[in-house]
Symmetry: C2
Subunit: 151 residues, 2 copies
């Protein structure tokens, strides 16, 4: 079990593989972000996207899918208490159908809680890259973890 | 047409109504955030959620749905160039099936672009509230807008 004490600034991880499909881009956009450039190539042609592009919130959702698969698999069990929030989320490049996304993370800060001696926070920089190794999105996730019972 | 010059610090808006359903919470979680407490009441009972709760990324998606409906309707046409990113996203309270969400926004800062004299940015605080007027999520959206041709 990985507790708050087991995370260190500078730790990195690389994981995930998500193939972005046209059907899924349109399905997400219809439900949650029905702006024309997320629904059809024709509507996107006259915008800076140039062709059908995924909603930025779809990219966050696909990233979460990769993250959960990693946390439930290779990352091993952790004493995670969920995420408090996200800082500095930036959409850097469009995500298109046919792209394949992956994740790189690096821990930027760990902090013991002042108010809750049994927990601490971990700030991790998430970078999502496409098949050309171009970053398409970046954010800092603030994760909460239980402290080790031995500490 | 609303250009960057037409947004002022302190401007507020209140809009949206989104009924959160059990089927949609589970459907989103299966695709993008299959942690047990987003999939079943039983699994959530032993967590701080207490019962089935929506993925935080589902809440951002539902918020975008309300925002797009507002922008395509009552807000009137604007010279928007999309969002650069999001700061200070915080999930404040669980969102449960049966909740009804709504949005309140307030402009916190407007800034002309140094590098692009034809555009500017607008920082807006988005607060999402449930049917009890309790804030469930908050973030600052960084929107980009064209400047007025008259300015």
């Amino acid at each position: 079990m990985r507790y708050w004490e087991d995370f260190a600034v500078g730790d990195t991880a690389s994981f995930g593989r998500y193939e972005v499909t046209r059907d899924e881009v349109i399905d997400f956009a219809r439900k949650y972000d029905p702006q024309p450039f997320h629904l059809s190539d024709d509507a996107a042609a006259s915008t800076h996207f140039g062709r059908l592009a995924a909603s930025g919130w779809h990219t966050t959702a696909m990233t979460m899918a990769m993250n959960v698969a990693y946390l439930q698999g290779d990352a091993g069990e952790s004493a995670g208490l969920g995420a408090a929030g996200i800082d500095e989320l930036r959409w850097l490049k469009p995500v298109y159908p046919g792209d394949t996304l992956r994740c790189e993370t690096r821990i930027e800060e760990t902090r013991a809680s002042n108010s809750r001696p049994d927990m601490g926070s971990v700030r991790s920089r998430m970078t999502v890259l496409n098949q050309n190794d171009a970053p398409v999105m970046s954010f800092v996730a603030i994760g909460l973890y239980r402290r080790s019972p031995q500490s």
